[in-house]
């Protein structure tokens, strides 16, 4: 319990840091983002909305601590202002309409990469020096050396433009309305395959090598020798004895990746014009939509922290040593 509380405290501090960063950036950066933004949206906004935005971004004559208290209050109550590029939709609504696509894309890719990568790692370590162990790691390191977005561009060019197997952009075809019909789901699935595959391709190496290395260490433990001496079946030793004990670091990185799903798919979403939060973040930057930018950053951070906290709780369940301390 003390462990959980300590972690909770840490995540609260981390979240506070990111809120404060968000608060300070527009106020202490050279240049004047606010006036640039107003120039762009001139004539669209009501005076009271302009006033609210000025306060949000710090064009404000009040003392700084008072602005800060106000800002914190707004964040806590979920008031993040109004989006400029999608005027007059509130920022929270824009984010809510997009986060689902990101979770779908990132979640699918993460689960596939983690499961396949860990299995490959287990097999590679079990047959050290075998075919999987000697061929895959160098290959995956080489693939991992390519800039991710470049691989995605290549895949889009090859499978989308030349072969025409895959749709070129967006998460579903134009003219379709999101609904739980077979037509829509299969269409969304077809749009999902290529982006998800490219993420799996570059991230699977990390999972495999991490698992392989821990597994090699575990394989040298005495209880594995003991299990072999008892004459247990190799498959049982591999999964129930070795892999089970080598899982913990993988669970930890799964937690980290779970959080990064929300922000990490940014480049994928940009290349494939996939309508998730990452793509929206770039659009917000290009459209000088500072309230949306800040809202997205806070949402992404909150998701990362929350995912890590959930993994911590899971960890207590998984590892008795944490409970004992």
């Amino acid at each position: 319990m003390r462990f959980i509380l300590r972690r909770l405290g840490f995540y609260l501090i981390a979240f506070w840091v990111s809120i404060t960063l968000n608060f300070l950036l527009p106020r202490f950066m050279p240049g004047d983002p606010v006036s640039r933004m107003f120039a762009r949206s001139a004539g669209q906004m009501q005076p009271e909305q302009i006033e609210a935005l000025r306060k949000l971004l710090g064009v404000d004559s009040r003392p700084i601590w008072e602005q800060y208290a106000d800002y914190l209050h707004n964040i806590v109550t979920g008031n993040m202002g109004v989006s400029i590029t999608r005027f007059p939709t509130p920022v929270t609504e824009v984010i809510a309409s997009q986060i689902g696509w990101t979770l779908l894309l990132g979640g699918t890719a993460l689960v596939i990469a983690a499961v396949v990568g860990n299995l490959l790692g287990i097999l590679a370590a079990w047959r050290r020096g075998g075919a999987i162990d000697s061929a895959l790691p160098p290959l995956l390191v080489f693939v991992g050396s390519f800039p991710y977005f470049w691989l995605a561009m290549g895949a889009l060019y090859l499978f989308g433009v030349i072969l025409g197997w895959s749709p070129l952009r967006h998460a579903f075809s134009d003219g379709l309305e999101p609904a739980f019909t077979w037509e829509f789901i299969s269409d969304a699935g077809a749009h999902l395959v290529l982006p998800a595959l490219t993420i799996v391709l570059v991230s699977i190496g990390g999972w495999m090598l991490g698992m392989r290395n821990t597994m090699i260490a575990t394989n040298a433990e005495d209880y594995i020798t003991m299990a072999e001496a008892k004459g247990l079946k190799p498959g049982r030793i591999m999964f129930r004895y070795a892999a089970r004990n080598a899982m913990l670091p993988s669970v930890t990185s799964f937690g980290m990746s779970l959080g990064f799903v929300v922000g990490g798919a940014l480049l994928t979403e940009v290349v494939f014009a996939y309508p998730g939060v990452g793509y929206q973040l770039l659009n917000a930057v290009q459209g000088l939509d500072y309230p949306l930018m800040q809202g997205l950053f806070l949402t992404i951070t909150a998701a990362v922290l929350l995912a890590n906290f959930l993994v911590d709780i899971f960890y207590v369940r998984l590892d008795p040593r944490v409970r004992a301390s």
Binding site: F149, I162, V270, L281, D312, R321
Partner: protein, 344 residues
């Protein structure tokens, strides 16, 4: 040698303390890399690298790129981004790699691009390793309150999502090469600080450091003359990982159009390729070379990194290891440093 009394802590042990650690962060096992150092000083590392085929291949690729970058103004005099009327030509004898939609020679753009990309990559790599060394050593040496505070800051920075933070910072700061470098250092130092701290911590507990403290040496001298030389191989590995991160993250940032779009670099070449629709018009020669160059440089650095691991950790060299308890190595460490930032 306190490290040898308890068997090398497995990654799981370390993860108990800090569950947010990615697989390897806990694992640069104390003793694994530092053990050979006292017996065979740095000479051994350099000699080992010179006879290691992986290191030599990596170094050769890297040297070719550095030479090309330095010779760029001689090989392709004039401004590579000058717009001409020879638009979108396929590779030919005159233009080895064809031309872009604006009539720029792709070969010239690629070779000139090496200058900015290598410069930024190396600067970011050295600077973030330096910050990591300072933070890690201070944490490990002073301990107590300073360690708590510095570790907290490090962990917060590790946890903040790197790429979105990168985008936000680049959006608010005025565009330019300086901004790119600064932003990359801010988001990149935490990974190396964490790795270096855990290594410094294990050296801090050894007898010769205690002896130095008792004999009244100053803190700075103990940190930089006693502890630092004994973790040379980890510092080297961290540096290489940071350079890889720097080159990759710069390319990503520029590809999003958040760098200084007027400079010629590999990331900007790809940004313009995307912007001019090279993909949709089928001009593959415009976006292939720059991406390949980034990959080759990153691959070369990764090869050297592996070689450093092999030279300093004999257990990785042989297939049949007697007790390979501390094998988790550079690759995983690298992924910690870059995970959040390169959208993997």
């Amino acid at each position: 040698m306190t490290t040898y009394i308890h068997p090398s802590p497995s990654a799981a042990d370390a993860a108990v303390e800090r569950p947010t650690a990615a697989p390897a962060t806990g694992a640069p096992a104390p003793g694994a890399a530092s053990a050979p150092a006292p017996r065979r000083p740095r000479q051994g590392l350099i000699h080992g690298l010179l006879t290691n085929p992986k290191a030599m291949v990596g170094a050769a690729i890297l040297l070719v790129f550095i030479a090309l970058a330095l010779l760029a103004p001689v090989l392709f005099p004039g401004d590579p981004s000058r717009i001409t009327d020879m638009a979108s030509l396929e590779p030919s004898a005159e233009h080895w790699l064809g031309t872009t939609a604006k009539g720029q020679d792709v070969m010239a753009l690629t070779i000139h691009g090496a200058r900015s990309s290598l410069l930024v990559g190396l600067t970011v790599g050295f600077a973030s390793t330096l910050v990591g060394i300072l933070v890690g050593l201070a944490s490990a040496y002073f301990g107590k309150f300073i360690d708590e505070a510095l570790s907290l800051v490090t962990n917060v920075f590790l946890l903040l999502p790197g790429l979105p933070l990168l985008v936000i910072l680049a959006a608010f700061l005025p565009p330019g090469l300086g901004t790119v470098i600064l932003v990359l250092i801010v988001t990149g130092w935490a990974g190396s600080a964490r790795v270096l701290r855990s290594q410094a911590l294990s050296i801090r507990s050894k007898d010769f450091v205690a002896a130095a403290v008792v004999s009244g040496e100053r803190a700075g001298r103990i940190m930089f003359r006693e502890i630092l030389p004994n973790m040379a191989s980890i510092v080297m590995g961290t540096l290489l990982a940071c350079v890889i991160y720097g080159i990759g993250a710069q390319a990503g940032l520029e590809f999003l159009g958040l760098g200084d779009v007027s400079t010629v670099s590999w990331g900007n070449n790809l940004f313009w390729a995307g912007n001019e629709g090279a993909l949709l018009t089928g001009s593959w020669w415009v976006f292939v070379p720059s991406g390949l160059c980034i990959a080759l440089v990153a691959f070369a650095l990764a090869l050297i990194n592996y070689a450093v691991d092999e030279v300093t950790n004999p257990r990785l060299r042989k297939i049949k290891a007697a007790k390979p308890a501390a094998v988790v190595g550079t690759t995983a460490r690298r992924s910690t440093a870059s995970e959040g930032n390169t959208a993997k």
